[in-house]
């Protein structure tokens, strides 16, 4: 990979150890992916924020990066959800030991200079740059959304590579940064009868869960109808990222490449695999985190009602603020749900401390990870189905 003279000097350590490590990471990735050179980015989105995922070793590394002198992120940088709600971790049952480690991680990122909100849907709360802009986003669901819906250009970055990109303001020019690699590698033909009209997060989650497991390159959908909302696209992207390494899809593929069918049987097979219990003891909404539109429709459904079950609703603090201003948050909380800000349903201890054996959710990604990380069983249902049963008139 070509490096400019200035980049070579930074790699040699001229600008300090932190930037040297960052360039070493980029060089290694560039060699791995046969990149020709580095390219400037406008936005980095870093993952590896929850103490549950990065642990003491990640914290140790992060502190070394953050508290070296002059360490600052060079471009606009957003961060993934962290391991708890910073203001009410105590009442949610998080241990003080865990909380203090999580706060250390947060202060390291704050020192480096990130946007204040912890979110896996950064495109909800911050202004999206024009189509074609190079960015470096970790968090698979957001990266797939960026490439497929927003027409930004990013690879599926890792926690470490996105950190290097935030520190340098650059990424490697390879894979999905190049137009010739952004064409479908295989098509996925929707051949459904019974489930012909895909609607809502659950349906598109199931489609994504299947597509991701079948196609590792760019996915070309064919005969795809529906997909009318941000929320459906978000569920589709999240599920694709859960089961495979694809970083992008094309909505209406005309590419003449090999095709795979998605049938009623595939749909039902995925549903049965993810949903292993009829009813859950608690409800989890917001994987990926809720959009303001979802907060609105949830508040509409919960207006004047009480929930019979524990219910956690995950959103970013930015979305929470708007939901509060508009009155949605009060309605949701009055119904008995707990809104958890800036955290993640999957990679935090918040589900484990609920002490339940099963949960209900509308998210395929959530179902996949909550089973594995928290050992709970999952009832996969649409939001309507969940609330029809659990919300009773006050």
């Amino acid at each position: 990979m070509y490096l400019s003279q200035r980049e070579e000097r930074i790699l040699a350590g001229e600008s300090g150890e932190v930037l040297q490590i960052a360039y070493r990471i980029l060089l290694a990735l560039g060699r791995l992916t046969n990149a020709s050179r580095l390219v400037p980015i406008k936005w980095a989105h870093v993952s590896g924020v929850s103490y549950l995922t990065i642990g003491d070793y990640g914290l140790e590394f992060l502190k070394r990066i953050a508290f070296s002198s002059h360490s600052k992120f060079k471009v606009f940088t957003t961060v993934n959800p962290c391991g708890m709600d910073v203001e009410k971790w105590d009442s949610l049952g998080v241990s003080p030991e865990y909380a203090s480690k999580q706060l250390e991680i947060i202060s390291a990122y704050a020192k480096l200079g990130t946007a204040s909100s912890f979110t896996c849907v950064p495109y909800q709360s911050y202004r999206v740059p024009p189509a074609g802009t190079h960015v470096a986003w970790a968090e698979s669901s957001a990266a797939i959304y960026a490439n497929s819906i927003l027409n930004l250009k990013t690879n599926r970055e890792s926690a470490v590579s996105a950190l290097a990109s935030a520190l340098t303001g650059k990424t490697v020019l390879s894979d999905l940064h190049l137009d010739e690699n952004r064409r479908p590698s295989k098509n996925l033909r929707l051949s459904l009868k019974k489930h012909e009209r895909l609607r809502g997060s659950l349906d598109f989650g199931i489609l994504g869960y299947f597509a991701g497991s079948q196609i590792s390159g760019v996915i070309g959908f064919q005969n795809l109808r529906g997909l009318k909302s941000i929320e459906e696209a978000k569920a589709l992207c999240a599920a694709i990222g859960t089961t495979g390494s694809s970083g992008m899809f094309v909505l209406h593929s005309k590419e003449k490449v090999e095709g795979i069918d998605f049938t009623d049987r595939d749909y039902e097979g995925i549903f049965e695999k993810l949903s292993d219990v009829e009813r859950g003891e608690a409800i989890v909404f917001g994987c990926p985190q809720m959009t303001i539109e979802e907060m609105y429709s949830l508040s509409k459904m919960l207006y004047g009602k009480k929930l019979k079950k524990k219910c956690l609703v995950f959103c970013s603090s930015k979305v929470y603020e708007s939901a509060r201003t508009r009155g949605y948050a009060t309605i949701i909380e009055s119904a008995g749900a707990t809104i958890v800000r800036d955290a993640c349903a999957d990679f935090t201890p918040l589900i484990s401390v609920l002490n339940v054996d099963s949960v209900e959710t509308d998210s395929c990604k959530g179902a996949h990870y909550m089973k594995r990380v928290h050992g709970v069983r999952v009832a996969l249902k649409t939001t309507n189905e969940i609330l029809r049963e659990a919300a009773i008139a006050n």
């Binding site: 490590i21 070493r24 990471i25 060089l27 290694a28 990735l29 060699r31 791995l32 590896g48 995922t53 990065i54 642990g55 003491d56 070793y57 990640g58 140790e60 590394f61 890792s158 926690a159 470490v160 590579s161 290097a164």
Partner: protein
């Protein structure tokens, strides 16, 4: 004149040198080989204090990485596993170099932050080193040399 018989398994120098692709460059190092034909998951499969694989059925279960040239096909699992290698390096329990069949993002970023030379084999297979005892890794010249079979 009595010529000492060549040791069994002796190979000419040219047959002991292999071209590799350098992913992370570092000092030339030489050391005993720890070989695994199975991938390694750093995040949950490796003890970050001891530097050993802790998956019970793994081929190199319990064998220390320390001061070894570690050979395995590729890394699997979360990219956060890179921090485990960084920790091993800090504690002096990391391998001195890594040879992969085809490197992956986790192993590459791990070696980059920990400063461990990393090469992979774009042609040829790592299986030919299964019985190698000692290897020199010259990442700057993109070359490895088996010194003892």
């Amino acid at each position: 004149m009595i010529v000492a018989p060549l040791r069994k398994g002796y190979k000419e120098k040219k047959d002991r040198i292999f071209k590799v692709r350098s992913i992370v460059e570092g000092r030339t190092v030489s050391g005993h080989v720890l070989f695994s034909s199975q991938p390694i998951a750093f995040l949950q499969g490796v003890d970050p204090e001891k530097g050993i694989v802790i998956e019970p059925k793994h081929q190199i279960y319990g064998k220390p990485f320390e001061s070894r040239v570690l050979i395995f096909p590729y890394g699997v699992g979360s990219s956060v596993g890179a921090y485990v290698i960084y920790r091993l390096k800090k504690r002096g329990r990391a391998p001195i170099a890594i040879i992969n069949q085809r490197s992956d993002i986790t192993t590459a970023s791990a070696c980059a932050i920990a400063g461990i030379p990393l090469v992979d084999m774009i042609s040829g297979t790592i299986n030919q080193f299964e019985r190698a005892r000692s290897i020199i890794v010259n990442s700057k010249k993109s070359e490895i040399e088996v010194v003892d079979w």
